[in-house]
């Protein structure tokens, strides 16, 4: 694998009507890393994700994914690129008319040539991998709890074994233990599949335990990008209050800032 970033964003400007959200943003996502993306609410974290995914038009700048400029793609190349990433939307975005299993099978049916038996087994495998019970397979999204919807949506985003996974606030709405398991799962997938993960999150536990690097957004630009330790040392006021605030101290509490997930019930209860 080359060292070139799997996603490279340069001078990206995005705005709606008279408002500019992203003002010349630069960001590299390296192959095989889990990048946590933080920033104050309403600053355009989701806008950046949606722009990379091609859901929001950009005003100027370049976005390269897998080394290809997304502007120069033909229709077929574009479709091909879309099979190589998986997206977990904040609300899950499961198809409400389909059962969980059918939801997971949608991308499989469209893009893979699987036998009927393997289609069935592969969907059940994904359901197990994300920690759902087997009987969830035939339930409709309206019959699931919030946490189960998150897991089912993750299973769908993993359906094609993507190379990049976009997660929009994956652990919001999960209980701390579930969130810890979720982080573990993402880390395992990264190790085993060489997955690259772009995670928009406010969960300090996730940032400490799962993320290799953190990028912080502020005023339409990346304020800082680096490891947790580098973030802790950064003098930027928002970063200081974010990583040294009351909630952050509870998570980082004790001599070691980096801890294994969900080992300390007290931390788990106050974190996230």
């Amino acid at each position: 694998m080359s060292d070139s970033p799997i996603i490279r964003v340069r001078d990206l400007v995005v705005g709606f009507r008279d408002k500019t959200i992203l003002k010349g943003l630069n960001l590299d996502i390296r192959r095989g890393e889990i990048l946590g993306f933080v920033g104050p609410s309403g600053q355009g974290k989701s806008v950046l994700t949606r722009t990379i995914l091609g859901l929001v038009p950009k005003r100027s700048g370049t976005i390269e994914v897998f080394g290809q400029d997304v502007d120069g793609l033909t229709y077929a190349e574009r479709r091909r690129m879309e099979t190589r990433w998986g997206v977990l939307f904040q609300q899950g975005a499961l198809f409400s008319a389909l059962t969980v299993k059918q939801n997971i099978q949608v991308p499989m049916r469209e893009h893979l040539k699987l036998s009927g038996r393997l289609l069935d087994e592969f969907a059940r495998l994904k359901i197990e991998m994300v920690g759902l019970k087997p009987d969830a397979a035939d339930k409709l999204p309206s019959e699931l709890s919030g946490g189960m919807i998150k897991r089912a949506a993750l299973a769908r985003s993993l359906a094609l074994d993507p190379e990049i996974l976009f997660l929009d606030e994956p652990t919001s709405g999960l209980d701390p233990i579930g969130a810890g398991e979720f982080d573990d799962l993402v880390s395992t997938l990264k190790e085993t599949l060489g997955l690259t993960v772009f995670m928009v999150t406010h969960d300090l536990d996730s940032l400490y335990t799962a993320c290799d690097r953190i990028a912080a957004l502020g005023d339409g630009q990346i304020i800082a990008a680096g490891t947790v330790e580098e973030m802790l040392e950064n003098p930027h006021p928002w970063l200081r209050s974010y990583f040294h605030g009351k909630r952050a101290r509870a998570v980082a509490g004790g001599p070691s800032a980096v801890r294994a997930p969900h080992q300390d019930p007290l931390v788990a209860a106050t974190g996230g």
């Binding site: 592969f122 087997p134 019959e143 395992t188």
Partner: protein, 389 residues
């Protein structure tokens, strides 16, 4: 891409394959060597290769993963499945040359739970009876729900009447604007056209008897008593009834109705009473408008095709119809509006979580409303005939 030396190793599944295709070769010492990409996009090749591994029956197999380009959950699952099959038949399957990440992945792909058993199904003659029975029960339950709902709406109206300050005037005016004012153009246009069409056909038939002037009696009575109100009610059912169902249904899906309830607000009072009242106000107004438009359309046609002058048309119309004909049409309108409103709100509240359910309920709302409006019109016709009005 790695090519197996043909002389030493018998080829199993590598003939003429594109680079990267999942492959299986047997080495001289009996080891099975996997190559290429054991990934989801190679699913047919992966399955075929795995079937070849399992086809050996009970045997001591050694599978070499060392030269796999990429292994993902699909490849790992198929391998693990094959291993389980081989072991179930009494053989063994050992992995060789596994990289640590492959080892982890192979450990991850386990299906522990059994698939849920499918619900037992009835055979043909029984299933027909079963379905019919369920439909009948559901139909009668729906009728019961309708009556209960009517009672609830009446009770809510009574509560509002007792506490006039809780009446939502703004919502009512807003709804009337949506239903009556914004709906007026299309209803005027359609009534105008239908009036013209009916008049034209009437003229063609009556001309044979030289009685084309009687077309004024025909359209006057038909439009004022039946057609005007029926057309308007059908249009309103399609236009406003569907809107009510969709609004309430999507509020149900987003738990907005539940939010109202837990805030100590009455969903019936807030959502239903203004809409049903607005329909009962709007439909008579629209009916009158539709009557006039249809008469205008009929009159214009009578002048163009039937050779009547405006004065003749108006004089005949005055002679043919009385105020009671207008009343017969208008009196039906509020009842039809109530029917449309009740069906639309019942269907709206019946929406469940899915987008599909919303679509089904909106369709059901429009179809049932139109059906009930026509049934109601028939009942009124019988009634007015009986009292000779």
């Amino acid at each position: 891409m790695r090519r197996a030396p043909v002389k030493e190793y018998p080829l199993l599944l590598t003939e003429g394959l594109a680079p990267g295709t999942a492959s299986l070769t047997e080495a001289a010492d009996g080891r099975l060597r996997l190559g290429g990409r054991w990934t989801a996009d190679q699913a047919p090749a992966v399955e075929a290769a795995a079937a070849r591994i399992a086809a050996g029956g009970p045997a001591r197999l050694a599978v070499d993963l060392g030269e796999i380009e990429r292994l993902d959950t699909l490849g790992a699952w198929v391998l693990e499945r094959t291993r389980a099959e081989v072991e179930a038949s009494g053989g063994t399957l050992a992995y060789l040359g596994t990289r640590p990440e492959h080892q982890t992945l192979l450990g991850e792909v386990v299906i522990r739970g059994e698939p849920p058993a499918p619900a037992p199904r009835l055979r043909f003659p029984l299933s027909l009876l079963d379905g019919t029975g369920r439909q009948v029960v559901r139909g009668s339950k729906e009728f019961g729900t309708g009556i209960a709902f009517l009672g609830e709406v009446v009770a809510a109206c009574a509560r509002v009447a007792l506490r006039p300050r809780s009446f939502r005037g703004t919502a009512l005016v807003n709804q009337v604007q949506q239903m009556a004012l914004n709906g007026a153009p299309i209803i005027v246009l359609i009534s105008f056209l239908v009036g013209g069409i009916v008049a034209q056909q009437g003229i063609f038939q009556l001309q044979r008897f030289g009685a084309q002037t009687f077309v004024v009696n025909l359209i006057g009575l038909l439009i004022l008593r039946e057609l005007g109100v029926l057309l308007t009610a059908i249009m309103v059912a399609g236009r406003s009834g569907s809107a009510i169902t969709a609004e309430i249904g999507s509020m149900r899906m987003r738990e907005e109705v539940d939010a109202l309830r837990v805030m100590g607000l009455d969903a019936t009072e807030i959502l239903i009473v203004p809409r049903v009242l607005a329909l009962m106000i709007s439909l008579p107004m629209l009916t009158l408008l539709g009557d006039l438009a249809a008469l205008a359309g009929g009159g214009l046609t009578a002048m163009l095709y039937g050779g009547l002058t405006l004065d003749q048309f108006l004089a005949r119309l005055q002679a043919a119809v009385g105020v009671h004909h207008v009343v017969v049409g208008l009196v039906k309108a509020p009842f039809m509006a109530l029917t449309i409103g009740l069906i639309a709100t019942i269907e709206g509240f019946a929406v469940e979580g899915s987008a599909e359910s919303l679509g089904r309920r909106v369709t059901a709302s429009v179809v049932k409303s139109i059906f009930m409006v026509i049934v109601l019109d028939g009942l009124f016709a019988v009634f007015f005939a009986a009292i000779d009005f």
